[in-house]
Symmetry: C2
Subunit: 229 residues, 2 copies
């Protein structure tokens, strides 16, 4: 544990609040839409299409998947925007807001560790998100660098390889046990962050501790406390 060099963060849900950010955008541009239901349908489509990519050994950037899903779900939500407005709405995933503890926590952690996203979001998405919100990453690692979506082991092992460290010198930080299970299987350390409202106020998430991932924190500042930052 003393030898950890790199902290790799899941992004959607762990660092940024996708549900709250997109609900706020929908309230602005399409107040008639059931935004909670809409954003959960969009997110479910992302899980389905990235899993299809993994199953087919295929690689496509998340922006393109998001755009395709958006086109598919729009009619059932009576979302009637022109193509330019749909393209712009698709980029809401580049404009997600961090949870309140994310930036203060990362500022502390980067004093001692190299901090990077390790997200299925693309390089442009993660870069634009960080630039807009001021997220102080040292670099941007994405599934796009490895052409392999998490939980494919190549994503976790790739992060260690490009940083020229051993897998056990990397800690994966995520609000999802599935992500941490795969990281652990690849030989990384893991830390869980509770994000009980990730799916919105109406859908509280079970954030019980898992014996598989004993490092379990309420937020990123608490992780910084634990790591002595």
């Amino acid at each position: 544990m003393r030898e950890i060099k790199v902290l790799a963060f899941d992004t959607f849900g762990t660092v940024v609040d996708w549900h709250g950010s997109i609900v706020a955008e929908m309230a602005r541009i399409a107040p008639h839409v059931d935004a909670d239901k809409f954003v959960r349908a969009w997110r479910a489509g992302y899980f389905r299409t990235t899993a299809e990519c993994v199953a087919n050994g295929q690689w496509r950037v998340v922006d393109d998947l998001h755009r395709e899903i958006l086109g598919e779900i729009a009619p059932s939500f009576q979302l009637d925007l022109d193509e330019a407005a749909m393209d712009d709405l698709n980029l809401v995933w580049h404009r997600l807001d961090p949870w309140p503890d994310s930036i203060p926590g990362l500022v502390r952690l980067r004093e001692k560790f190299t901090v990077t996203p390790l997200s299925n979001g693309g390089i442009a998405l993660l870069t634009n998100m960080a630039k807009r919100a001021g997220i102080p990453w040292d670099l941007i690692l994405s599934a796009e660098v490895f052409h392999a979506y998490k939980p494919d082991p190549r994503a976790y092992l790739g992060a260690a390889e490009v940083m020229r460290v051993r897998p056990d010198q990397v800690m994966m930080v995520a609000a999802h046990h599935r992500d941490l299970d795969a990281a652990k299987a690849a030989g990384l350390h893991t830390a869980y962050i509770e994000r009980p409202l990730e799916n919105g106020l109406a859908h509280p998430k079970d954030v019980s501790a898992s014996p598989e991932h004993p490092l379990h924190f309420t937020d990123i500042e608490s992780l910084a406390d634990h790591l002595g930052c």
Copy 2:
């Protein structure tokens, strides 16, 4: 020109002073070595081996090339270090110092543009260099992301692709006309930065303007002036 979104910087020589930084390290660890000659031999080996990689369609990380060359040239310089010290010396390329205008220039430019290295140096090398020196990149792009060394067009086109912009929305910034020639051929904008002492005080470089690259600046702050930052 008004649509440029991304500034991609060559790194060795353009942003950091490889010659001066390594000469200083050699003075500290091996004062008997002709450091000027040594560092130029190391750099020449880098040009030879990356060109071989391009010619053979092969990919190897620069850290490994640097280490191999170091082993080859050490005897002729009476450089007699143990393996651990050789490995550490090899990482001097992660510890290069920026030119005095680099950080102030980049701080200004990143207010308006996405700023990234686009270097043959690896991801770990560029990340460690930026973290040590405080270089404020928005992301780290390396030939390693594309498994193609500059001047392979895939490196330049890859930078545009992962940032989801057109090639003509990227400006390549470099102190080497050969790099800019290839960037221009790939459809990028180009800007030349004079670094007359890149090869050391004893080997002033011809920094004459090329009609192919009319944007020609003495340093990165002058580029920021020109771009209205």
